[in-house]
């Protein structure tokens, strides 16, 4: 599973890292550290990643590949 974190729309709600701390890492300001990039979701973390994506008020995380 591969996801993209939108560079402009992430505004630091931090929901992604709450639901999927092994997938989404926050920077020192509390924004997704990988914003603007695509990342691979580690195996076994898919469900957590989906919860993180769905709870993002900005819809800043989108699915690139299942």
């Amino acid at each position: 599973m591969r996801v993209k974190i939108d560079g402009e729309h992430c505004t630091g709600h931090g929901r992604c890292a709450k639901y999927a701390p092994n997938v989404f890492i926050l920077d020192d300001d509390g924004y997704n550290a990988d914003r603007g990039n695509e990342i691979d979701v580690p195996e076994g973390e898919e469900e957590n990643a989906k919860r993180g994506m769905k709870s993002c008020p900005e819809r800043a995380i989108t699915l690139v590949a299942e």
């Binding site: 630091g12 931090g14 639901y19 926050l26 919860r51 709870s55 008020p57 900005e58």
Partner: protein, 415 residues
């Protein structure tokens, strides 16, 4: 469910005479955030609006649109070029109220300030305040636990957020908290609205004096020093003094006027639902999720406004350049298009999507602090006072405008 203005106009349930009979006014075409009916029938009105009125209109003052669905609220909130914050977030803004930075500005000015301020409010920094906040919860509970009763707002809910914010973030004495809370409350809800600027002026004067005093003191490396240091705007000018004061006002406003409502509503809900209380006592790891659900259904900021910078269409409604648009966060957080059974309060909800902390670049800068205050409050309250209920014959007292607040909550428990 209606998706556009045309759907709404064709829906017999949204006909003007039907709305007047049901709500006392045509809430689709003549809504008023300050109407006491909205205060009294808050959940019913928001649910009706999100389902039936993707967009509604108010004729109060110069009038404003309200955008009510999750998707459209997000779209408008993220598109700051078309929907500007620079003319303020209040509809029919009273004369003489200074603009608050960075909330009432747009990028790049807004971005300059947020880059400076965000590090002070990040999850990592906020987490270091946990112990002090936990102690403060207990100091407050100690003052009334033996009585077997309390008025939650004045004895806990209006105090803890102020203490947490003043002690940890601003470093100002908590003795002046009552005056500031009063100033902020009256500055928000006083009627007629023309009285509000005078109340806000007290808050400005106090914080202006505090900032001037701090400028003479050794640096502490805190958020006040960051504000004093200032930023250079893109046109090469330095941020003026009044912008700096307004940042302090904005932070104080957000830090003390809002979390109280989520906190009080959560405690009220737990007083009324012993079974949910027991679930949280049995498994405190559920509390964080419960806080998220309580934030979704008990929004202190009902709606904030933007000004159209050009003609634009939203949900089939033409808006003109200069029109004022309210983003109804409270409605967007209960949109059945975006979540299952939004009217149900479920602390075990799998994913919780809400707009309580706003959407877009102006996301509430204090969201991490608010979550910590709420989680810690519920943890400590349930540990110290596991059994409690609403005093018989009483009911919570609410006040609602573009913010919602609770004024009174009488609780009792076995001594």
């Amino acid at each position: 469910m209606n998706e556009t203005r045309a759907d709404m106009e064709a829906d017999p349930e949204v006909a003007p005479e039907v709305l007047k009979a049901r709500f006392g006014r045509d809430i689709a075409r003549d809504f008023d955030l300050d109407d006491p009916m909205f205060n009294d029938r808050f959940d019913e009105v928001l649910t009706f609006m999100v389902n039936k009125c993707p967009i509604s209109f108010s004729k109060v003052g110069t009038g404003y649109h309200l955008v009510n669905t999750n998707e459209q609220v997000r779209r408008v909130a993220q598109d700051w070029r078309t929907f500007s914050s620079a003319k303020g977030y209040m509809p029919n803004r009273p004369e003489g109220l200074p603009y608050l930075m960075p909330e009432e500005s747009d990028p790049p000015m807004h971005t300059n300030w947020r880059h400076k301020l965000n590090p002070h409010m990040s999850p990592k920094v906020i987490a270091t305040y946990e112990e002090v906040i936990r102690q403060d919860c207990n100091v407050l509970i100690d003052t009334f636990i033996e009585k077997g009763e309390c008025e939650f707002i004045s004895e806990f809910g209006a105090l803890l957020p102020g203490w947490a914010f003043f002690k940890n973030v601003l470093g100002v004495p908590i003795d002046d908290l009552a005056m500031l809370v009063e100033g902020v409350e009256q500055g928000t809800f006083a009627l007629p609205a023309e009285e509000r600027p005078a109340h806000m002026a007290r808050v400005f004067t106090y914080l202006d004096t505090h900032l001037k005093w701090r400028a003479t003191q050794p640096k502490r490396g805190d958020v006040i020093d960051t504000i004093l240091e200032g930023v250079i705007y893109d046109d090469g000018t330095e941020a003026p003094w009044d912008h700096k004061v307004s940042i302090l006002v904005d932070l104080t406003f957000g830090g003390i006027a809002t979390t109280t409502f989520v906190m009080s509503s959560a405690i009220h809900y737990l007083a009324m639902h012993p079974e949910v209380r027991q679930q949280l006592i049995d498994d405190p790891s559920l509390i964080e999720n419960a806080v998220e659900e309580f934030s979704r259904v008990f929004p202190p900021v009902i709606a904030l406004g933007r000004t159209c910078t050009r003609d634009v269409e939203v949900a089939g409604t033409e808006m003109k350049e200069g029109d004022f648009v309210m983003l109804t966060w409270g409605a967007a957080s209960r949109d059945p298009r975006a979540m299952e059974e939004p009217e149900k309060i479920d602390i075990k909800r799998e994913t919780i999507l809400h707009s309580t902390f706003g959407v877009g670049p102006h996301r509430c800068i204090g969201s991490n602090l608010a979550r910590l205050e709420l989680t810690t409050t519920i943890e400590e309250w349930l540990r110290r006072i596991p059994e409690f209920s609403l005093r018989e014959g009483t009911a919570p007292v609410y006040v609602t405008g573009f913010l919602r607040s609770m004024r009174e909550l009488q609780l009792v428990w076995p001594k």
